[in-house]
Amino acid sequence: MDEIRYKKIIYSEEQLKERVSALGKMITDDYCGRELVLLGVLKGSLFFFTDLSRAIDLPLQLDMIAIGNIPDMTSSTGIVRITKDVDINITGKHVIVIEDIIRTGLTTAYLLQTLEARKPASIEVCTLLYNPGRQLIDLPVKYYGFEVDRSWLVGYGMDQCDYGRNLPFIAEIEH
């Protein structure tokens, strides 16, 4: 790909910094004295996850999780599975799942179902971008950066055909 073609910048680098810093402060206040684990969902949440974790002024554990679709004998379409699991033990700990964007919520619902089986003390979701109008399943989204109604976005971890993740801002692309 020669260049990323985007229509306009939706959230600038400064806006993102400011919002991430505010979210970090909220989480610091809410989780003070609790054993906290941040789980970043690869690859979209990569930069949000690293910036947010540094904006939280608490001792915490970090880990990342990835999901993908793999072929399955019992399904013609394959099934969604965790392709990179959590390495640390989350049982009895307070977990926040960090997402870049929640649209229908099906992927996050699958993740939460899987993580809940490991008996964390609590599990919440923090997403940078959130579209509650499109969400099909009510998820415990405790923190979000911005409410959006656009789908085709790139930058700050989000991609277009796997490119554009390293843009420091979030832009709308043509579809």
Binding site: N69, S75, T77, G78, R103, T107, Y110, Q113, L136, I137
Partner: protein
Amino acid sequence: MPIITISRQMGSLGDEVASALSSKLGWELITRDLLMERFFPDISQEQRTRLGESAKFYLSEYKDGISFRDVLADSLNTMSVEGSAILLGFGSQQLLSGNENTIHVRIIAPDETRLSRIEKQFHLPAEAAAELLSSTDRKHKRFVSHVFATDSTDETLYHLILNTGYMSVDECVAAIIATWKEHQLRVRIKAETKEEGAMNHQTEMPVFKNPSEAEFAKILDMYHIDWKYEPKTFPVEWDSEGNVTLAFSPDFYLPRFDTYLELTTMNQKYVTKKNRKLKKVLELYPGVHIKIVYKKDFLELAERLRSFGNE
């Protein structure tokens, strides 16, 4: 509260399945001896022995003109309301027949497998093991036949029959738990439906009205999200005689998230009509969560399904 009854052939590993199931679920395992102690604490040793030896004795009077069998059935039905348990043997599938809080399981194995297990377990020669197996099978059959006038080998008495000639104890336990969960969900939806004044619409198999619904079911499967197809119908308008004139049956119910989903892949005119109907449902049935899957979301999810499928 729930009860799982387990009927088993001798040498079928039924006791092992019941014990493993009890550990896995954390439910009490109730055997015949425990049941006698709990429900008939005041009987004499002679009565206890006769109950162990004679099926007919169960039909005799225990107290106040009520037979041992009927006291047992009443006590078990009361227990099914108060606590969860696994009942092993003594025709419990008959005692709790028709009780909605219960599923009935039978554990079997091929005769050759059972014989070989009995030979090993009791250190018996083949002939003696065969005799023991045959007499025990006869005794079990006679007991259920005399006490309940039915045949314990009748497949229609059970929700699930498992063959340990082909399945391990762990596999049987997993199958029983899966069956139990589905049964519990079916019963829950039925009860809720009655309470809400909606109509129970659970079918024996989903017949999708259009290809989009079938495709959406595949998407949910892909994400391991359990679903039921059109399990409830919500009446929204009635005529002066109380007959339902307008009703809404959301396409999918996601039990884990207590959410109904209605697919809308058609043009805007119908979407507006559907939204109006949905608004009425939400007014009439507060607390029911229904979401519309709009065409845009459906197409995006279907696209993801196709691209995954092609990988």
